[in-house]
């Protein structure tokens, strides 16, 4: 009998790390964004996508709520809001 032992490449996507988020989540204001892509680079889950200015957004199924994107944003255009809030 065998348990889960090996994984083919790309299977990290099966782990929905969004469940790790406990207190806060990032909110992408999409107002002063300059499309510098710093948030994309620092995201440990690689779950932030976007192209033109003010189009960036993260996938909450994977976002752990670490706050790195809000910290790095030079325009303070990403803020951390309380989980469950309507903001």
């Amino acid at each position: 009998m065998f348990g889960p032992l090996i994984a083919k490449p790309g299977t990290a996507k099966n782990n929905k790390t969004g469940s790790w988020r406990i207190e806060v989540r990032p909110k992408f204001l999409q107002t002063n964004c300059i499309a510098c892509k710093m948030c994309v680079l620092v995201c440990p889950e690689g779950c932030i996508t976007g192209g033109e200015k003010n189009t960036y957004i993260c996938d909450y199924a994977f976002c752990k709520g670490c706050g790195s994107c809000a910290m790095i944003c030079p325009k303070k255009d990403i803020i951390m809001v309380k989980e469950g809030s309507r903001e």
Partner: protein
């Protein structure tokens, strides 16, 4: 062909016949002769294998882990401190379900430093998930290495095997051994075909993070597979018999236990001494016998139960301790009989032969004598009370 060989040389011959692609080991007494012999065979061009020199046992175990992970048959050997230094990797090899054969030349564990034989090193590794064999003599050593690869590499098992042989007594002792031919071994042991392997052309990840959603199933699977091992060993020994003509039970060996009133349970080379004492006492009309445990992991509980249930008095020998608790083998034998209706009246536990103290025929006779008295729990045999003090003050005064 029958040859007169040192135990270590016999192991090396058996391993050579199994054609491992990678061998890695670090020297440690009393194991060193085995890999010395294998290194020589490779250097002389008689064995097509890669010998990887390493700086420690931890690295040796890691090298063979990596080798098996890439789909190559591998081998290592160690002893005592070396086995303990490997321990972290040993858990990984079993956890990754990589079949491997390791020879453990059983030796005591420091401190105080002692290079002689007892079972503390491998008994301490009993919970790693490895299959463990304890051998009595040189022929068993050769045969169980062949069976070890066959068993571990079975598609339904995929687990590593530790063949435990008593240091010096078996590693340096010399006996007549029947070494099989390469054709016979090839017939019994096909080339290793892995279920999965590390390959840059077809990448996969082994040993990845298993969070609480996944970890428990990997451990459950090993636990269940050990039950399959108990069922498979008799089939493999049967196939072994067909090719080589030597018959083994593989799990346990019952020696003159029919109608016996007193039986000793033992593991390893001491069983040879016990057999001699049993023969001697039987010739005087005493109904005594021996139950040898060959496969200690998985523990063949049902077989041991059937073998001992009608024996009135049983003595379990341990050559290792679980300091602060009951002796390891004895506690498990007792556990087998707890809540059973038919069972021995007495299961006494004896500890002897630690750090290479000789187990003589007199030691065994003393155990048979003590078995007539009330049940003993963890009784030390051949202890020297004159060496013990209640206080360390004035020790040398």
């Amino acid at each position: 062909m029958k040859e007169f060989l040192e135990g270590s040389a016999a192991v090396a011959r058996a391993v050579k016949l199994c054609k491992p692609g990678v061998i890695s080991a670090y020297p440690i007494t009393p194991q060193t002769h085995i890999v010395e012999e294998l290194a020589k065979e490779i250097a002389d061009g008689k064995l097509n294998s890669r010998f990887v020199n390493v700086e420690s046992e931890h690295s040796a175990a890691s090298v063979v882990l990596g080798a098996v992970a890439t789909g190559v048959r591998a081998y290592t050997a160690t002893s005592s401190q070396g086995l303990l230094y490997m321990s972290e990797v040993l858990f990984n090899i079993a956890g990754l379900r990589l079949p491997l054969v390791l020879t453990c030349a059983n030796r005591s564990v420091s401190a105080p430093i002692n290079i002689w034989n007892d079972h503390q090193d491998s008994i301490s590794m009993r919970d790693t998930g490895w299959i463990q064999f304890y051998v009595e003599n040189m022929q068993e050593i050769v045969d169980l290495h062949l069976m070890g690869y066959r068993l571990g590499e079975d598609k339904s098992i995929m687990l590593p095997v530790m063949v435990c042989m008593d240091g010096y007594i078996l590693t340096h002792g010399i006996e007549t051994v029947d070494i099989p031919t390469q054709e016979e071994v090839d017939r019994f042991l096909p080339a290793y075909k892995p279920l999965y392997k590390l390959d840059p052309q077809d990448p996969l990840t082994m040993g990845l993070l298993a969070d609480p959603d996944y970890y428990m199933e990997t451990r459950y699977a090993i636990q269940e597979t050990h039950k399959d091992v108990v069922k498979l060993i008799p089939k493999i020994t049967q196939e072994f018999y067909k090719v080589f003509g030597r018959q083994y039970n593989g799990l346990i060996e019952e020696y003159r236990t029919q109608d016996a009133e007193r039986v000793i349970v033992g593991m390893g080379s001491v069983c040879g001494t016990i057999k001699d004492v049993v023969d001697e006492l039987r010739s005087k009309g005493k109904k005594v016998g021996l139950l040898k445990i060959i496969t200690y992991r998985p523990l063949p509980c049902q077989e041991i139960y059937e073998a001992l249930k009608n024996i009135p008095k049983v003595a379990v020998l341990d050559r290792a301790l679980s300091l602060g608790s009951y002796a390891p083998v004895a506690s498990e034998i007792k556990a087998i009989f707890f809540s059973k209706k038919i069972k021995p009246k007495v299961i006494s536990s004896f500890i002897l032969g630690l750090g290479g103290r000789d187990i003589t025929k007199d030691s065994i006779k003393e155990i048979f004598r003590l078995l007539n008295l009330k049940e003993k729990s963890g009784e030390f045999i051949d202890l020297k009370p004159e060496l013990l003090r209640e206080s360390i003050h004035g020790l040398d005064a």
